[in-house]
Amino acid sequence: MALFSSIRQWLTDRFGLGPIHDAALDRRVAKTPWYYGDGATLFMLLMIQLGTGAFMSLTYTPSPDGAFESVRYLTERQALGWFVRGLHYWSAGLMVVMVFFHMFRVILVGGYKFPREGTWLIGVMLFFGVLTMGFTGYVLRWDERAVYAVKVVLHMFAKVPLIGEWLVALVQGGRELGSLTLTRFYGVHVIFVPLLLLGLAGYHLYLVMLHGVTSPDERKQPVYTPDEQRELYHAQAESEEKGETFYPTTMAHSALFAMVVLGAGLLLTLMLGAPMPERGANLTRISMPREEWWYWWYSGMVAIVPGFAVPALIVLLPIVSLFVLVSLPFIDRGPYRGMRKRPVFVGLAVVTIGLLLFLTERRIESPWTGWPSDVVPPMPPDVSLTPELERGRELYVEYGCNSCHAVAGVGREVGPDLARIDSRLSLKELREYVGEPPEDVPMPAYRQRMTAQELELVAGFVLAVQAGAGENQ
């Protein structure tokens, strides 16, 4: 034992571990609630991403000819590839979720208030860094979803006034989507942003060590100056009941939160594995691309906002969010950190969280998407199917009415559900309507394409469905 003890002493001395231990680990901090473990959780996720990512780079081939197949190979053939890539994928999603959680949590407890403005501003950069990683990562898969994700981002850049087209060429690496596009995303995802994230995360943690985190007493009483804050924090940290030692007590509590999130990541990986799309990148197939689930809110927003406002929204949202986040500590300067005393900022955070969830739900439904369909609409149970109605129903599918209209809840929801629509047109009126819809209704005119008899049959079918629905109510 004496030998171990002397080796330990030697290491501590020669590698200078004593000062690190005293400054970083063996220090008194204020006790904080369980949800303050979100920061440690994010750090753990960052480490998972660095580890799994570094090892995947040993197989991944950043060339458009090989990228997709190399991802397929490492997922399906290489030992435990499904696990390593699966954990990388699910941790990426969890990291985006956690970075939002962490940010809103800090806003709710007034964590950006003096003397922690610097910690917050570094955090804002980390927030945008994580969002960038969450996007550039799935481009590297170089599947269909990836190329269209790139196209979407390029179209977003294209909407920037004056320099839009130049930005497109800069990100795309030229005038056409190609090899340089992939290598640029590779460089950004694997070198540029990870280095930045690692450096900034280290600095963020240094500032957390220096200034501490918002303690319970700071939230209970007004604090007017940074000096007063330091005194209050110090008193808690040193006290027997309100303070604790960072290592191991605080770390154990934070680790609990982190373990729950790690558990979620592992569970998702074991249950669902690493998603492997069928088809590699191509610009020729009929495709229904979708962003990854952690960006559904963004897609929902683009679809819901009126079309004329979309370009401005796309350009302004990142700029305005950055501006708002950076200015928060300079606007919300009052002495109170408790939520009841800061209704405006707390309200803003809660509304934003609600919006993100609402938009995500909308994207899952995507009621705005019209698409060719083979779905044959149902007939009401008590309507007998005459040859005319059967033919009307066939024409309904043949002419793509079902690309937009549901019948009794079956089918797409772009136009009104024809069994549930309120207006009751006569056969003649309906025929006219389908033949030549009013100017302001986004529906194709069928007069040129359907014969008078076909119009009659389709209109007859729709009326039968409506009558049937009416009787059933």
């Binding site: 060339s63 458009p64 000819d65 190329v147 269209y148 196209k151 979407v152 390029l154 179209h155 977003m156 850049f157 294209a158 087209e165 130049w166 930005l167 497109v168 060429a169 800069l170 690496g173 030229g174 005038r175 056409e176 989507l177 190609g178 090899s179 340089l180 990148a281 191509n282 610009l283 020729t284 197939r285 009929i286 495709s287 229904m288 691309p289 897609s299 683009v302 679809a303 906002v305 079309g307 004329f308 979309v310 370009p311 995507s366 705005w368 998407t369 019209g370 698409w371 060719p372 599918v397 043949e398 002419y399 793509g400 009415c401 079902n402 690309s403 937009c404 772009v414 986004p442 194709p444």
Partner: protein, 157 residues
Amino acid sequence: MKRRDLMKLIVQGMGAVTAGAVGIPALIFGVAPAFEKKQARWRPVGPLDGFPPGSLRMATVALPREDWAETPAEKGVFVWRPNEEDVIVYSRSCTDLGCPVHFDEGSDWFFCPCHGGIFDKEGAPVAGPPRVPLYRYAWRLREGILEIDLSSIPPMA
């Protein structure tokens, strides 16, 4: 100026010079592809006879190749020949955010799979976020072969 202050200035200056000497060339190197000159790039779509009057169908066009990689090798476009004389070649990119539109033969309209963009056969936006009509390629005929200029639409489309 004190000797000590001068030393500080020199140290800072050396740092700035080093950063500039390495950083500026690296930056120029990084942004160079964005300054690629715009020039016409005509590519064949196929014999015009393959697109009978009245038809609207998808066709593929070979993309220019880099020296070191070949994919994506081709790109889908829509060729519509409303009558004997006219040809319209649409890009598949939705003009809102670039998702690939799909032509629905039943309704004769184009549907975007992402945010509800819908275009009529003429390419005009009729629903959803798009405000701009579908992009049309410049086209020409060379010995019966339909050719389009890839540079005639925006670079991301």
